[in-house]
Symmetry: C2
């Protein structure tokens, strides 16, 4: 059976990617990272989903590397920007080189498992804010992972050119339950409804004329 | 002043690269990794050199990621292979995707420091054993680090096509003192003189008709 590592944050995009990989017949090894994110709650969602699906799941604590990376509000006490998911507004949430770091770790894991693929939930809406979600970035990483070991590893980003709304549409068509996902950058009891991540999640539901099953503080 | 991150293990190759970057006028930020290597002693050598040079130095503990990576004798109790530095003999010392991981972390650090370059001591002799020391690997990584952030980072591997002997020659011409470096894969009081790393170090000194200033158990 073909094996794949799926980078799985616990959010709605990677949740959809995880199910997509399963439906494509991969033996999935889910991989989550604790990078000191304030919304660590997403990891509890990831864990619960993997337990329910009875698939392999690792959560790796990489907080030690934060001493190398300039502060982002996602990993510090700086305020999370609210409102529109625009470049200017969200720029401060960029964790330097985050995706290259996560993809390189996932590729090392794939090599160790003799898996030929790493699934990753980059999508088009993120690419204006996060340089390491751009299609050209993912293509360039693929050229590295192809030759980083004697056996190639392919980075598969099935939604690279899709919007978050498209991902949701695909997931709903698969019958997925998005109450099993966490998106809000604030890790409180209920999703805040105001941060950039909530904003884009709610916009995706709106675009699909669906109601988000999660509870929000402000909506 | 132009800034650079130098990946600095404490071994002779990166020691030479560190001095090269300094001579090229970079403000150097040395970066070492504790990845659970049995020859952790190299980190003490790195620390002492940076203190003497009075340059910034960080040692980052990334042992948490070993749970993702299949065992290499460098990070476990498996015996270190002795003798010739050949592909078959040394293959077991490959840490899956090690260099992509280290380069991605160094690039994140460079982005945070607003540094435009990461120096890295890959050289030709390693490229037969370690797939991630091959020139094509380094070129591919450069295509990623160019676009991983809005500001490009260049991976500079000055000895990519050189032998370990060539590096030593360059370093000796710079007047460097190689008693300040540690190479042996076993982390004992004296270098073992038998492991693949000692073997290639001694060969480099021999090629330059020089005597290694380090003490060896067997020579």
């Amino acid at each position: 059976m073909k094996k794949a590592v799926v980078i799985y944050s616990g959010g709605m995009d990677s949740f959809t990617v995880l199910h997509k990989a399963l439906r494509e017949g991969y033996a999935v090894h889910a991989l989550s990272f604790d990078y000191g994110q304030r919304h660590k709650k997403e990891l509890d969602f990831a864990k619960a989903v993997c337990e329910q699906l009875q698939i392999s799941h690792k959560i790796v604590d990489i907080t030690a590397i934060n001493q190398l990376l300039q502060g982002s509000p996602l990993t510090s006490d700086i305020a999370i920007p609210e409102g529109e998911y625009s470049v200017e507004n969200m720029k401060s949430t960029v964790v330097p080189n985050r995706n290259m770091i996560l993809l390189s770790l996932a590729t090392g894991y794939a090599i160790s498992l003799h898996a030929g693929a790493v699934f990753y939930g980059a999508h088009h809406d993120d690419s204006a804010v996060y340089p390491d979600c751009r299609p050209e970035f993912v293509h360039a990483v693929n050229e590295v992972t192809k030759i980083a070991d004697w056996n190639p590893v392919e980075i598969i980003a099935p939604y690279l050119n899709a919007s978050k709304g498209d991902i949701l549409k695909d997931g709903l068509a698969m019958g997925l339950d998005y109450s099993q996902t966490w998106t809000c950058y604030n890790g409180r009891e209920q999703a805040c409804g105001l941060c950039g991540a909530c904003y884009s999640r709610l916009k995706a539901f709106e675009a699909q004329e669906q109601t988000d099953p999660l509870a929000y503080e402000v909506h």
